[in-house]
Symmetry: C2
Subunit: 262 residues, 2 copies
Amino acid sequence: MKIIGERINSTRKPIQEALEKRDRAFILKEAKAQLEAGAEVLDLNAGAFIKEEPVYLKWLVEIIQAKFSVPLALDSPNIEALNAALEVVPAKTEVIINSITPEKERFDNGISLVKKYSTSVIGLCMDEEGIPRNKEKRLKVAETLIKKLKEEGIEEERIYLDPVIQPISTDTSVGKAILESIKVIKTRYPRVHIVLGLSNISFGLPNRRLINRTFLTMATAVGVDTVIADPLDKDLITSIRAAEMLLGKDEFCLKYLESQRS
Amino acid sequence: MKIIGERINSTRKPIQEALEKRDRAFILKEAKAQLEAGAEVLDLNAGAFIKEEPVYLKWLVEIIQAKFSVPLALDSPNIEALNAALEVVPAKTEVIINSITPEKERFDNGISLVKKYSTSVIGLCMDEEGIPRNKEKRLKVAETLIKKLKEEGIEEERIYLDPVIQPISTDTSVGKAILESIKVIKTRYPRVHIVLGLSNISFGLPNRRLINRTFLTMATAVGVDTVIADPLDKDLITSIRAAEMLLGKDEFCLKYLESQRS
């Protein structure tokens, strides 16, 4: 499971303040904590600042790359912000653009950067009509998106499909629809990654972390390989380690045993 | 998820002693605790007593049915013990015979009782060569068993297929092989139940309950609907409630919310 650490997000108050104050130490502490907890990619989001987003996103990339050699997920639909950030990313650094949709303008803008900088990309499974409600519509939107990306020359390995989770509290059919559509997509496009932005699923319910890790565990069984989440959630990490072991991805159970020691 | 409570098992020391002393109160306390915790079926096992097994199994059925109107899983390969117990089961009580295998003698003995008493039956996915190692062999054994049962006139709804879990610590490929074979079986025989005897999976590893509930959660996503487990494991029950909700089996999230209150 590739964990994309979600904590450096300007919708979180402490991050917003750190950005305003240019508090380098605070941001680097958040980065370090996530990497130590098991994140392999850091998501960077400065979207709470409309005007200053390009400046702040670029600054985040600069200070983090000066200290850590780590893949980045640039979390913005804003072409200017993405451009500003991508210009300062070191050539060897892996980047995932988070995200594009099949809608023409956002797709065209995003894809031009994906191609120019040879990045990977998270594609959101939604269209002009919003987030699809049932399995059939989900599949159709997902396939359209994957096909469009492949037509642009993006290999399956660089595509991260995000099924876009809605809260189970507002529609109890959404979990099953997502799991079923992932099963089909993984059969048709086995090399496409499936990424979950986890926390939405539990919105409005008690014990959200239990719901989040339960859904991730189920999703792991049907082919999800990447998650955007808070790696400081220890119960989430131990259940990821257990799930990986149970799927035969942990030789001699070593990573699981290590997670139990720490 | 149908939970078959596993606690009344003579391999557990307190149960063995209660049987020897005919400690009715202790057995009934175990039964009540499991039912209150969410068990829908009680597994009864007196197999630690070779000679007295028929007498003890019969006694268990009698004292429990006198107090609780609850479905029973009669846990024995011993035809005499099963016969003694089945003779005293009230006509209206649902029974699952736990278990038969495709091996001729055990199959023929078991099936004669399944037919005579119109019970359900747990079929173990193993044959003369033992427990199959890979997905292909698992599927073959499972299909042979289901076909044999259907030829005997047993409807799919009365068949509980048990994939027979081995410890992940001795073979890290076993979890994935089981999940993959369940997916295929559920596609071919959608009305056959899949039951997991959960605790073996974690044998020899620390934090066994975490591994157990993680595997059950994954298995739920691919079609497992019944589990033999300890319902007094609260974390297991809450993760079952979360998983059911996430699969759309909990209208208005009521059962989940209730599990969070208790």
